[in-house]
Symmetry: none
Subunit: 329 residues, 6 copies
Amino acid sequence: MSSSDDSGSMVRATVIQASTIFYDTPATLDKAERLLAEAASDGSQLVVFPEAFVGGYPLGSTFGVTIGNRSHKGNVDFRKYHAAAINVPGTEVDRLASMAGKYKVFMVMGVIERDGYTLYCTVLFFDNQGCYLGKHRKLMPTGLERVIWGFGNGSNIPVFDTPIGKIGAVICWENKMPLWRTAMYAKGVEIYCAPTADSREVWQASMTHIALEGGCFVLSANQFCRRKDYPAPPEYVFSGTHEDLTPDSVVCAGGSVIISPSGAVLAGPNYNGEALITADLDLGEIVHAKFGFDVVGHYARPDVLSLIVKDDPVTPVTFTSEKTEGSQK
Amino acid sequence: MSSSDDSGSMVRATVIQASTIFYDTPATLDKAERLLAEAASDGSQLVVFPEAFVGGYPLGSTFGVTIGNRSHKGNVDFRKYHAAAINVPGTEVDRLASMAGKYKVFMVMGVIERDGYTLYCTVLFFDNQGCYLGKHRKLMPTGLERVIWGFGNGSNIPVFDTPIGKIGAVICWENKMPLWRTAMYAKGVEIYCAPTADSREVWQASMTHIALEGGCFVLSANQFCRRKDYPAPPEYVFSGTHEDLTPDSVVCAGGSVIISPSGAVLAGPNYNGEALITADLDLGEIVHAKFGFDVVGHYARPDVLSLIVKDDPVTPVTFTSEKTEGSQK
Amino acid sequence: MSSSDDSGSMVRATVIQASTIFYDTPATLDKAERLLAEAASDGSQLVVFPEAFVGGYPLGSTFGVTIGNRSHKGNVDFRKYHAAAINVPGTEVDRLASMAGKYKVFMVMGVIERDGYTLYCTVLFFDNQGCYLGKHRKLMPTGLERVIWGFGNGSNIPVFDTPIGKIGAVICWENKMPLWRTAMYAKGVEIYCAPTADSREVWQASMTHIALEGGCFVLSANQFCRRKDYPAPPEYVFSGTHEDLTPDSVVCAGGSVIISPSGAVLAGPNYNGEALITADLDLGEIVHAKFGFDVVGHYARPDVLSLIVKDDPVTPVTFTSEKTEGSQK
Amino acid sequence: MSSSDDSGSMVRATVIQASTIFYDTPATLDKAERLLAEAASDGSQLVVFPEAFVGGYPLGSTFGVTIGNRSHKGNVDFRKYHAAAINVPGTEVDRLASMAGKYKVFMVMGVIERDGYTLYCTVLFFDNQGCYLGKHRKLMPTGLERVIWGFGNGSNIPVFDTPIGKIGAVICWENKMPLWRTAMYAKGVEIYCAPTADSREVWQASMTHIALEGGCFVLSANQFCRRKDYPAPPEYVFSGTHEDLTPDSVVCAGGSVIISPSGAVLAGPNYNGEALITADLDLGEIVHAKFGFDVVGHYARPDVLSLIVKDDPVTPVTFTSEKTEGSQK
Amino acid sequence: MSSSDDSGSMVRATVIQASTIFYDTPATLDKAERLLAEAASDGSQLVVFPEAFVGGYPLGSTFGVTIGNRSHKGNVDFRKYHAAAINVPGTEVDRLASMAGKYKVFMVMGVIERDGYTLYCTVLFFDNQGCYLGKHRKLMPTGLERVIWGFGNGSNIPVFDTPIGKIGAVICWENKMPLWRTAMYAKGVEIYCAPTADSREVWQASMTHIALEGGCFVLSANQFCRRKDYPAPPEYVFSGTHEDLTPDSVVCAGGSVIISPSGAVLAGPNYNGEALITADLDLGEIVHAKFGFDVVGHYARPDVLSLIVKDDPVTPVTFTSEKTEGSQK
Amino acid sequence: MSSSDDSGSMVRATVIQASTIFYDTPATLDKAERLLAEAASDGSQLVVFPEAFVGGYPLGSTFGVTIGNRSHKGNVDFRKYHAAAINVPGTEVDRLASMAGKYKVFMVMGVIERDGYTLYCTVLFFDNQGCYLGKHRKLMPTGLERVIWGFGNGSNIPVFDTPIGKIGAVICWENKMPLWRTAMYAKGVEIYCAPTADSREVWQASMTHIALEGGCFVLSANQFCRRKDYPAPPEYVFSGTHEDLTPDSVVCAGGSVIISPSGAVLAGPNYNGEALITADLDLGEIVHAKFGFDVVGHYARPDVLSLIVKDDPVTPVTFTSEKTEGSQK
């Protein structure tokens, strides 16, 4: 479906609210396939997984880091976390691609990407033919994430023009970056995926706002995790305010949601448990929304406000003998 | 023919006064081809169509918009209108180009251009070899048009130096903008096309004035529409003063006209029905007119009056990896 | 209080939810003074009025405009509306300034500004000494507003550094423009005023999002209007979906609100009637919010995303003998 | 009356269509007074005289000039013409001022101004209190006028804000200069006076266009002259196409006219003889016109089209000891 | 040869006194080549042609212009004259450049330049390598010339520093403009070329004076024309005092001359017929002359007399996307 | 007579060609009175004397100055020369004024002015009522004059508007300064007096050129001196090429002349002996001349060429307690 015709076709989309099987990437992939199959059986054409679903979001961990110090335990934790991450491309990516092809769904998957010894919080895109389309690396990690994940750059902010609409992903607090969102709008995003780890209620306000601002569908996917979804202490420690946790304590409450361009909540938010949140997206609604407010069209003021997106690849080291544009293939 | 030699060659030009087949772009293109063929068979070398001929001029519509409000019916209307618009470039542009080549005419065509979810009132230019030359987007829509069409910018104001003279287009009330006209004069426009939707008699005064002011031929093309050329109510509603309309009521009276640089009316104005208004333009008359008054030559006072035309491309978002000027291709 | 110390001083702020006395600017100013006095008597240091409070927001009006046409009634309506607007500077501005001085409050006032024959939707700023500080003209009107109001430019987007914090204003759907908001954040806005005419519930999501995104207090002021607050028909007609209105019908439901940088609702939203919505703003909360997310600070990615704000004055005509920026004073 | 209130007051204005008493300036001033008295007795508040009424428009003369040559007769003709011109200020200006005061009318008077040995085609402005307000010197003479008149500069293009509206004057083919007109619009001209010597019918189109373009009243004053209004041959010779003239032959047919901002002809054009053309101008119509099209307001595109008017005084020689702008006073 | 050494080298220079082949530019170029070849064969290093040699000086013509009127014959005359002019750059300029290269002479050539529909009286400069160096457009036409030629500006007043000295040109009555000459002196002109159409005897006084005033060599080139060098009547009419002309009547008597910095006449003036006037210029004489009087050196009084030359390019319309200085190339 | 009426009055003017009685100022004044009486008896209304007539032009003297040295004889010579000079004002000025009144002539007199110990080459102006009008000090002495005379400044360049025309004076090689002449033209000089000591034939070319350039009458007055008009050797020595002089040798040949604005020589040049050169000046000719070329009017290009004349008084020492503008009263 191109953005410019008026076929009015509906797209069924599912947001996965589920937890990683921590430190066990093969099992996590198995779980992903089960969830995918379930969504597909319900007729879903697009499935969006949470941030860091493959590799895990190390909630409550400190990796032993304090200002001016690190602990041995933290080093060991990071080594395990590094081991659970995946190379892109790589065998896990191949498996994910074949899953998408098998169930004939488009898939947006949050992963922890390993590039040498630096990890990235990345989202992978697959089409319903079993092809890996590309990735987005989180531009700016939040808080302590900056200690375990590297920083993406402008060359990894794709929007894919697929038969079911233009799909892109913005991860967690990247969603709070107005210039970054505007870059996505300028690329014409219609199905705006927001894998996240933020389960606070105010997150809903941002999701609604973005749907209105961008004139797009917003699909926010978060994990729902109890304490027991992480390794038991002392292997894995929840620091800070979460220390009196029972195995059934909810440590990440979800809140996954699907919102239409007019700000209507189509499905979710769900704060109760693992779930598949599914809705039918009428892409024709976008034209109604943009009729009133087209953020990069009739409502822009390029004579006053002009955003430059430096999306050329940047690498710390470039070898002139290589004509390729990236460095980490 | 260059503007500076004195070959005195004549150019036969036709202004098309006809209505869009509303909401049916393929049929409108078929009609355009029939009209083009007719003009070509009469020896015409240049054919100018009215404003919004492809896509339609939604006369009398309100799109359900009041101050602070919009109606559902208006959204639905806009969605249909959006669907009838065309991408530039795109398949409809390809068809128009091949028509121009088939009948060996230069063609100036008013269209509704779809760029993502914003529409523009645009004029397309084609040469007699079947090539699409470029476009002009209306800089400033009038009245309620500002709700359905975006605003052009300074980078879309071309004048094409063709073998039959220098051709440009200024749409509807853009013709009332003295600075904009002066930019056209500075580009050397010789055949000034004025596709319009204004059928009032005072329009003729402006056309005559512009011919005199610019020392150029003015070719104004307007649609001639009866109520029945638009969908019947309740699908399509004429608001305001037009409410007691019969199917045969004239809702746009035309007034298409061709005027010489001395202010002489060469053909038209026609207020009677659909018609082809044709005249032979003696381009050599331009030198007579400019001998007396050359608005950007001997009669300019650049020491006192200096117009800056900011015609660099502007876009709300620019991606440095792209060399294209737009953002959503 | 400077924005950069940590005195933690509190600012009492009031948002006015009240209607214009339509077509009667002197009476509206009297009403403004009564409301200001009431807020001041409650200890308020900052009072924010709705969009277009002086001059009026012509809700439901069409000004007789359809695509390609205008009615005589619409012209007459506009002439009255033009007459109710105020010059800036001018006698009404003087009166507003003296009110602010008399009640010793900072005041943010939505007005309709008359500049020759074009009107602008403008917000005026006054300090508690009775000085007029400056103005912001709405950059981009929405929908039919584009027919009655001109377009602001980049030179009218001030943020004033006052003893009670850095104050700026963003009007109605300007709040949906991410680049424009980012310009405000870059100017360091701490008390972000959002006079509006949008009383839909989704407006609350945007207000919350902006507080989080900008790390600032958001004060949204809207009118509360019943049908009888506008002239009776046939003088004043509500078009569209509002036609079966009784005099007591609510035509604008308010929803004025004050939100903290953490997204907490401090007062409102009020959908019940005219009201003064008051809260104490602890400016020290801003540092908490920005510790996590500083949109133009540690969370910006200027290597990738760079916004250019062209805020030089632009005028259609500049006279070199004048050092002023406008042309028609 | 200020341009920005809405008093709706009417202004009665008269355009004088009469001929100079050639080579006899005192008699011409007497005639001016008679015409002024007649207009005033009809209640006129503003009286506009034709181009060069005082000093004369030397229609059909060649001043003996050919390319590369001059005749003695031409020199003698010029000496007489120079003698009939007036200094500004000077005794004739004083007399004109006292006339305006005596009859309590605003007066716009075309004169030939003598500044040393160069003549200028100038328009003088007087208020109804008997004060000389200032002058406009024609920027660019037309055709052979360039041999007898000097060129004005940007410092002589005033618009006077009077109790009966903002008044300016644009002389003859200056009216064809779009940038110059735009400067007038930017100064807020409401009563646009167009003293002229062009009696062709196409002149009417330009006057109508300007009224629409500028949203102003246009008052065009031309002389009505028969051959006998000029000295008899051989003293005064009509060259070119006029050689078979009888004393009663019409050599300048007038065509004086008053047009409203909507393009409606309020009085004239008169092609029959000397006449006073009078109309009541409803200045309130301006707001209707500008609601649709405000050339320097909501319909301007200063981001694209920006006119610089260099209106600083320029003189070939400046003496630093003088604070006056000219050199030979 | 640099202007500041004292090599005393001699430069042989030739002034061409010959007529245009009117309305036949190719034939005129052929004639120019013959004359150039003849001068070169005599050892000349610099050849100066008269004003308007290419394009023609339309002596005695009126172009049908009277005050307030134009004739059809005049329009037709102008169209032919416009056709005979040349574009700069353009094919004729290329031919002239190659001539200069072929005969290895510096060449100063008077032409009528066509820029769109306005003509300019221009002088072109070529070096002895066959390169076009640049041009000077006459600043201020004289008398009726103002009707057929546009006005130059301050950006076209070059002096070229060549191996045979610093060369500039001042056309016809520009030579009477003291400020303009002073600008040339300030640019260091050593070989001051004065192409002209003035054949009166008093012209010699000005040439001598300029040589003394400027301390430079003055080379004045004028056409020698008989009536038969112009088309026969009625196609071409001599107006004014020349009406009893026979084909052999001299209509332009020449008077071409070469004068040294001490006021000595080195060659000419010739009033007898077409001729090549040649002299050897001892550039070392300049230092003798300037020892006594250096107009921009020791004899200047910049504390009292200060000339500002505004030589920035000015154009009526500037397109910001172009880095060129003109608007109609 | 004002420059702006057309009275056509004639002015009879006389140029005095006579020698100083060297070192004898009282006798020189007696001689001046005799010459004045003679001119007056012939009906002359204006009498112009040569440069340095009172005080003497020390032709052929070296004042003992060589580079790096001075002689005692030179000092003695200067002391005598200083003694022969006059204070301005002073008794000799009073006598000159009463002469002018007695014979009822306007008088322009070259003198050597003594201001403390510096001498100036000055011209004094008197009216026919016996009033001293003012003075002009030579701006720039030539060659060795720079050793005996000081330099004037911009505050001493008057043009007096008298009943017989506007009169000014330019001394000797000041006449070669184009900017200085232009300042005179800008002041409207009509009777341009050129007292000089240059008797070379090329001087005539400059006088003719100035008449044409300035459109004014030029009256050049030079002394006619034989060797015996100076003291005999060894008291007074002629150095250089004049050493073989007999008492009757002509050392200054005169060449006084009167020229009209059209370049016609009205009287002189006289190279034969002392003489009164008289002519009738038809001031009406000025308008003919300026019709063709008005150097500071229609033929100026102030947009390109702008002369600043710094004519504020300048003095080496200013006492703030004095409010007078000069320093030597």
